[in-house]
Assembly symmetry: C2
Homo-oligomer: 440 residues x 2
């Protein structure tokens, strides 16, 4: 079969953009040998055309004029790697209106304005492909959308932010504090200079919004997701949890019950030490999915970085060039907002077990008092650990593990615990997530 | 968008066939909601139309006449789940000639006659989709072919046979012997009444042939693969290996060097205890792949069984119905046999470390003698363990771990070791596989 030429226009020449350009330039031959498609860079657009980059482009294809990409009809595929939600959205819409398929890794944009963009793609008979938006190089989007399509997906548990996973892994294995571990993540290039969106759970929520929509077939927005970050996690809690058999991970969790009600959360989660996700360390990502037919599957790999993400972006380019993306995209039906809104479980109704740490003052009757508060809210204690020796200000740290209870009961109990005069400061509360095990 | 009806004909109504029928019948609604495709069973063909099955078919669609499937032009997709290589091949060829896309999970047939079948598919402008042939419900074929297409894949290490993995897991965790563990696998339904093809490594080799072809882009045949089964693995060796820090797994290994030379092996392999593959237990499968851009990725899930495999088969049906399979298939270029034959490394040239166990007679000078044999063949010892206490016939088991050495040197040394009068019986030789680690 004759080779088919595929011309690609790249908007955004930052880290991922450089990776994509590198792959297209250096792997064109081997991709052509494997697929019969010859990828060609039509142009690369960036406001900065001067800075040195780790990839050498052919002469005169770098430009600051987006119209060169938009108006070039030989360019079939537009790759948006600008990032952010303003200029990027405008560029994607214009690419679609110009009749190009769009490939992107922009999770923030898709999580916030996905529905509007998808509509524009449908209107133009084109597609938006976004394998690179979640899980870096792990082909997780196509796994859910295509590979597991015959399944009713009942749950997903993901470690989808490499920065947080690196920080928590360091805190766990080396007993480091949060700031130390964050500084090290920045040194190693795993955290941005401004790491806010990573550590506050926002980035994980973006990814969960995208993954959960296609897994459950619902239009999902960021507002549907309950989010807590890892900013206030202490090494003491990681250590105490470890003594009880748990490892702390920032999990993105989507669960669907039998009535189709979906709960969506991102929060620091204690999980059992022997769960496969507990062993995912450093900047790696992993996603466990439970399907009605397939049981448990897990995908593991690098969740970010120049080349892993570029690997996913170029896979999307090839899939778009084959014409498969547009078909898959056209056949991806999401239940509209009007129907799904009612199906999103409020966080207050969600049930889990909890790890609670209180600092008890050294005086008689303390246990009776905090136990009564918990009991008053129907919270049953399954385990407790009071270390001898002192916490700050002549207090004793007490760790309590509860049985399953609704979040709203726990929230109310925490308010009362914070007011108890026998305890010092606010109690620490971390959810314990019991990931189901698919065993023989 | 209006729903599109997709009529499917099923040939083979055994375990997997029942699972596929069940999914099509029970999940039609949810699949239609997610994809706009309404799957319908046109007919189900099996020589046995009488036995009770765990799924109830609509009236009169079960038949023993394959022509009802072949001659029904409303059936676009033929699913071959007959198994074996004779009737199945004939049926697939006839399906293709009748203009139907073929979906199958028949790894033996593809590994043995894939090239002939692929040619027939190309000739007819149709496709053969085979996600269910490897890794059960894990969408591994599409991950390699689509998700990782931008990568130069340099290596894959797979636990791809659930029967063997169950047996080795039981032997490792419970100290059981091979026959005990096999009997238990049969009791649990993880091993067939005749488990030969599983335990002799043949099934893993079939899967490796398929996975390696698409990963490396080479036409690969079974003859290219060096195969050893787990029949002669003893619990003692699993225990001794464990003491040295290794876990025994049956691995399917494909590696490509910088010159494009590929080595393909299936054999019992000692791997480091902390490698993620070492923790894959029971009937589960997992495949670690190393790509030039993506680094290490790993896929984990149930590698066999009715519903997991059916999940993969139905995913293929949907992909075929969308028209994507035929495009992907048309664009899958494999280097032909004439070119690849020269690129397959002979097993003798392959390099690895080895675990050797000899039974040394209780007499002076033994160490000097076997050490000399190893030294004569350029085999350097990196560790050794001689347990006090006796082996059979007043011997002492000595475990030797070697540095890397070519297989042909080891083969020659083993012949001489077997002849040494200070050793009893034939030495045991198991490869130690150092799976690379993708770390920060």
């Amino acid at each position: 079969m004759a080779e088919k030429q595929v011309r690609v226009g790249l908007a955004g020449f930052g880290t991922i953009g450089c990776g994509v350009a590198k792959l297209i330039l250096e792997e064109a031959e081997s991709i052509a040998a494997k697929t019969g498609l010859r990828l060609e860079l039509g142009c690369v657009v960036d406001t900065d055309t001067e800075s040195a980059r780790p990839v050498k482009l052919p002469k005169s294809i770098l430009t600051n004029d987006i119209n060169r990409l938009l108006n070039d009809d030989t360019i079939q595929i537009g790759v948006e790697l600008i990032g952010g939600t303003d200029a990027a959205k405008d560029v994607q819409l214009k690419m679609l209106d110009a009749g190009k398929d769009v490939v992107t890794a922009n999770k923030a944009l898709l999580a916030e304005h996905g529905n509007e963009l998808y509509e524009a793609a449908h209107r133009n008979g084109r597609c938006i492909a976004f394998e690179g938006s979640c899980g870096g190089g792990i082909p997780i989007i196509s796994a859910i959308r295509t590979g597991l399509v015959a399944n009713n997906i009942t749950a997903m548990y993901g470690i989808v932010n490499g920065t947080c996973n690196y920080i928590l892994s360091e805190m766990t294995s080396k007993g480091e504090g949060f700031s130390e571990a964050l500084a090290q993540a920045q040194n190693k290039g795993y955290a941005e200079a401004d790491p806010t969106l990573d550590i506050n759970g926002g980035d994980s929520a973006h990814k969960l919004a995208i993954l959960a929509s296609i897994a459950f077939g619902y239009e999902i927005t960021l507002e549907d997701i309950f989010v807590e970050g890892i900013e206030s996690v202490s090494k003491a809690d990681i250590r105490y949890g470890g003594e009880m058999g748990y490892i702390l991970k920032l999990l993105a969790i989507g669960q669907k019950d039998k009535e189709g009600k979906v709960s969506l959360c991102v929060y620091p989660s204690f999980i059992a030490k022997d769960n496969p996700l507990a062993r995912v360390n450093g900047p790696f990502n992993a996603i466990s999915i439970f399907g009605s037919a397939v049981g448990q599957v897990m995908y593991y790999g690098r969740g970010a970085g120049m080349m892993p993400t570029a690997s996913a972006v170029v896979a999307d380019i090839i899939d778009a060039a084959l014409g498969n993306s547009v078909t898959t995209f056209r056949h991806l039906h999401l239940k509209p907002r009007s129907e799904t809104e009612l199906l999103i479980e409020k966080i207050g109704n969600c049930v889990s077990r909890f790890y609670i740490k209180v600092l008890a003052k050294n005086q008689p009757g303390v246990v009776a008092k905090y136990s009564k508060v918990l009991g008053d809210h129907d919270i049953s204690i399954s385990g407790a650990l009071q270390h001898e020796g002192a916490g700050p200000n002549n207090t004793v740290p007490v760790v309590i593990i509860t049985h399953s209870v609704q979040q709203k009961n726990m929230t109310a109990a925490l308010v009362e615990l914070a007011e108890l005069d026998v305890l010092s400061g606010r109690p620490v509360c971390i959810r314990i997530v019991d990931i189901p095990e698919d065993k023989d």
